[in-house]
Each structure stands twice: as C-alpha cells, then as structure tokens.
C-alpha cells in the first residue's frame, strides 16, 4: 500500500471509532430498555437530541461558548457538563417511563410502542419551540485543530476523547450490571419479572433505574455529538436514533456487549461507504448490512437463539 492510502485509512479508522462510539452509547439505551420491558423505545433517539440541547444550553448559560485552551478548566467544565446533562436526562427518562410507559405496562405490546412514537414527537416539538427549527451552533470546547500525528495521519484529540468517554461508560455499565445488587435486580427482572418481584425486587424502581441509566448514556452521546459536529438541530434524534436502533438489533437486542459492538460496526460501515465514494448512500449500506445479518443470524451478532435472553 502506498503511504497516502495508509494515512487516509488511519484517519478514517479514527473517524469510524468516534462515530461508532456515539452510536454505541445510544444503542445501549435501546438494548437496556428492550431487555427489561421488551419495549422498542422509539423516543430514545429524541432523548439523545434533548441531551445535545441541554448540554449546549448548560455550557452557554455558564458562559462557555468557545474553545478552552487551559486543560484544567477544560477538564472541569467537561466533567460538570457530563454530570449535569446526564443527571437531567436520567430524570427525563425516568419521568417518561413513569407517566407514559408504566400505565401501559400490562397493555398489549402495540400500545406502549405507539406511545413511544408519541413521546418522540412531543420531545421534538418541545425542542423546536424552545430553540427554533434551524440548526444551532454548539460550543466547541475542544476544537478539531488540536491534533497529534500518527505517521502522516493527524488525529484530533477530540476523536480520542469521545472514544475514551464511550469506552469508560461502557465498562462502568458492564461492571454495574454484572457485579452489583441493582445490576442483579435488573438482570433478574429482565429474565422473569414476576419471579423477581416475588423474590423481593422492586421492579418499578428497577425499571426506573434502567431508564435512568439508558437516558443518561444517550445524554452523554448528545454531549459528544455536539462537541464533534458543532451544530445541532431538533431533528438529529430521528436519524441517529434509527441508526443506533439498527446497531442494537445488529448486535442482538437485549445484549449490552452486542449493542456496543453493533454501534462500532455501523460506524465503520458508514465511514467505509463514504471512503469508497458513496457518502450519500450510507443509510442504504447500513440497512443493507442489517438485512444481511438478520437473514443469516436472526437474533443478531451476539444474540442468543430466540426463546432465551440474557
């Protein structure tokens, strides 16, 4: 391979990682909610969008609208943004579950699904009224100009940061679900809700915690989306949500590792499609791969055969 190609490929590799990290963070919320109450939460993409707006609103209202050169201040502001946005989003998620989905928990499956679509319209319209229909610029705390070199390729620190944020959150989630009391409660509720309740697990609060975590992760994705793309609009939730949903299905819905894998997979497909010159056709590539995978592995890459769930 000639050096030029290597450079481009390295560069694109990091772009794919970044994009994949964002999709993976959103996909985790889809897969968690599906795992525990078997609901495709179509409002989840919108929660991600609200996260991007809340992060933008928070940053501008505490007076940061441009890049911050001082690393210490930057770290502090970023940490604060993540804390605030993720908490607010968590509560929004819990509220949506409490008032839109819980009353329908024993209703036929279609009812909460339609409600989820309704909730997504509500969120979109509220944000549209709040910030208007046109794209809004987000504070670029860490500009794309801050870069380092690998060979001839130059990689933005922002890409690395986003990837690291996603990985740290995923590892934390995995530990939380695998090793703690509340994680056990979540897994037992997912496997057999009634039995879990009869063993003393408060399924209402367990499901609420699931929504909190899922929405907080979508909030984190919203923050990094704003940082990376520099401009947000009330419609970004739809497309990103659809792709993240695809990622969750691709990885095997209900499976956390699968959602993460699926997210990165989709990131790579998109970047690859753009690289070979079909940037406009990326959705076609993404959904084409989805169809292929589902034909040969109907339960997704890491999903268990139908009839059993993790």
């Amino acid at each position: 391979m000639d050096p030029q190609t290597v450079t481009v490929l390295t560069q694109q590799f990091f772009n794919a990682l970044t994009l994949g990290a964002i999709y993976a963070l959103i996909a985790l919320g889809y897969t968690m909610v599906y795992g525990i109450i078997e609901l495709i939460n179509f409002a989840h993409g919108e929660i991600f969008m609200v996260g991007a707006f809340i992060a933008m609103f928070f940053l501008t209202s505490i007076g940061f609208s441009g890049s911050i050169p001082d690393p210490l201040t930057l770290a502090a502001v970023l940490a604060l943004t993540f804390l605030v946005t993720m908490t607010v989003l968590g509560f929004i998620g819990v509220g949506i579950e409490r008032f839109a989905y819980r009353p329908l928990r024993n209703a036929p499956r279609l009812a909460p699904l339609i409600t989820a679509i309704g909730v997504s319209f509500i969120l979109q319209n509220v944000v549209q009224i709040w910030r208007g229909p046109s794209p809004v610029n987000t504070p670029q705390l860490l500009t794309h100009n801050v870069r380092f070199d690998i060979g001839a390729a130059s990689i933005g620190y922002l890409n690395i940061f986003i990837f690291l944020v996603a990985v740290v959150l995923m590892v934390a989630l995995q530990l939380f679900v695998g090793r703690t009391r509340l994680g056990r409660a979540m897994r037992s509720t997912a496997q057999d809700r009634e039995a879990a309740q009869l063993m003393g697990v408060n399924i209402n609060s367990t499901i609420a915690i699931t929504f909190f975590i899922g929405s907080a992760l979508a909030g984190a994705a919203g923050i990094v989306y704003g940082l990376y793309f520099g401009s947000i609009q009330f419609t970004i939730g739809f497309v990103a949500g659809l792709k993240a949903f695809t990622a969750a299905v691709l990885g095997g819905i209900g499976n956390l590792a699968g959602a993460a894998l699926g997210g990165f997979f989709i990131g790579f497909i998109e970047v690859a499609a753009a690289q070979i010159g079909y940037a406009r056709w990326t959705p076609a590539f993404v959904f084409g791969v989805l169809i292929l995978v589902l034909v040969f592995r109907p339960s997704g890459l890491l999903g268990q055969p139908i009839g059993e769930r993790a």
Binding site: F91, G95, F176, R181, L182, R187, L198, N202, A208, A310
Partner: protein
Amino acid sequence: MSDAAVAAPERREALLRARRVTKRFGGLVAVRETDLEIPAGSIVSLIGPNGAGKTTFFNVLAGILDPTGGEIEFRGQRMIARPVRAWLEPVLWVLPSVLILLVAVAVFAVTRSVLALQVLVLVAIGLLITTLLLAIIRPLRYRQLLPRFGVFRSARPNDMVTAGVGRTFQNIRLFQNMTVLENVLVGMHSRLHSTAVDAILNSKRHQREEAASRDRARQLLGLVGLRGRDDVIARNLPYGDQRRLEIARALASDPVLLLLDEPTAGMNPRETSEMMALIAKLRSELGLTILLIEHDMRVVMGISDRITVLDHGERIAEGTPEEVRRDPKVIEAYLGRPAA
C-alpha cells in the same frame, strides 16, 4: 407426624391471619370467604382437588392478586385488602398546582397584574414538577402521607418479601441464565442496602456488603445441600437441585414465613423424602413458619401441624391431619359421594 404435632404448642400468636378472603374473576368465584390462620412456628398445609382455588389463594397471600373482598394481616399489620381510593393519588399530584392556577386567575381578574400572574403560574409549574418528582422517588414521608387521605394500596409482592414472606414456585422459576450464587443473591436483594452511588464509588460499605452477602449465600446453599456449586448456571442443575436452589433463594430474603408451592412436584420417592427432611430442618433450625401447597398426601400428612382443605373455592375442613383424614366432607371432595 406425631413428633411435629407435639412440637407445636396448642395456642400461639398467629403470624398470618386471612379473614373472609374472596377472589372473583368475572363471574367465577375462585376463592369464597376463606379464613386461614398460620400460628408462628407451625407447618400448615393447604390441600384440595384440582381447581379448588389453592393457587389463587396462594397468589393473593403473596400479593400478586388483589382480593375482591376480605383482608390479610401479617404480623398484626393489615397488608392485603381491596385497594381503597387508589384514584386519589394522581389527583393529589396535580391538585396543589391546579389550586394555585385558580388563585392566579382570580388574582389576575381582580388586580390585572401580569407580574403576579406570571409568578403564580411559575410557582404552580414548580409545584407540579416537585410533586411529580416525589411520585417518582416515593420517599418514606410520601408513603406515610397517603393513608392520611384514606388511600390504601394493597401490598405488592416485593412488599410482602420485605415484610418477611418468602416463596417458591410450583413450576420452577429460577433465573435460568444466572449462576447458582447469583440466584441466591437476587433473593437477598430486599435485605441489602447499597445504592447506585455506593456501587459507582465502590465504597467500603458496598464492598463489605457484597462480601457478607456472598458468605451468607454460600451458607444457605450449604444448608439446602448445594455446597460448592456456586458458579454453575442454574439451568444446568438437575431437577431436584433446582428445587433446592429455589428454597435457598427464598431463604435469602430472611423470611419468617415461607410459602412452598408443591415443593415435591415431579420428584421421585427418594427426592421427596429428602425434601421432607429439609422442610422439617427449616423449621427446627431456622425457626421458620411454613405454608405448604401439596398434592402428595404422604408429605402433607407426614409434616403438617394443621391442614386446611379447599374445594370449589371454599374451605370445607380445617384441623390436624388426623381430623382432616377422617372428615367425611374431605373424603367426599376427593373421592366423590358414595353411590346412593
């Protein structure tokens, strides 16, 4: 049997008392005005032909089904009854804000002050958000407030577990994809206190609690005879061991009353007598009170202190195994009326 009967004194404080419990499904009366008393420290059995309403009654006791009538007291506290004024709760969420909105409109009508209107509307919105947050978090004060407005909510299954009722299932319902140890740890859930914050910070308290709960879980597994099988995935256990694991999981919530739904169903005679020995051990070593639903008459007659017989949703007999065995109504329910 006689040993067990001697061990239980004549009159003891009733741990659980069901009064005139009725459950209707549409036109069908599954349980009609049934009473049941379970004295502390005893083994009480609930028997009856298929379709007699045993399982429905059991599910009402466990808090799965709200009864149509009657009530159940556990440790002297009314836990389960038909809910009263449950509709009032959502009204209470919005009522304060609605009142303030009305005041706002009234003030505006009188004073024509836009500022006052804006302030009051903001207060109303703030109040609404606060009450909704309270409804989500449900702090203790909030829950204590509800009865003052005459709202009674029947206990949910997890409330019954917290109060001290553990149970097993007729058809095994372990968490099949979790390990043996994890199944027991889920059973311990209501007795552990570490919060999400503890877990994230991996605090001392969290570490100590996790370690202690693992020790306790291993101890319980030893008690039911599953020592050293901690990391086996539950679905790979043999049938008899799965039943034992269910008991260990039920014991993990430190119950005072254990509800066993056909614990020997599908077992061979050897497994059955082992299970009987285990149940007797649970009472003698852990001081548990046990309510048993069972089909196997040998088990029922062998370990029960008192037996309640249901037929067509009604209690037709209650007494010691000897009394029940001789009761003509019971014989009729099981064998049919002798040909005239």
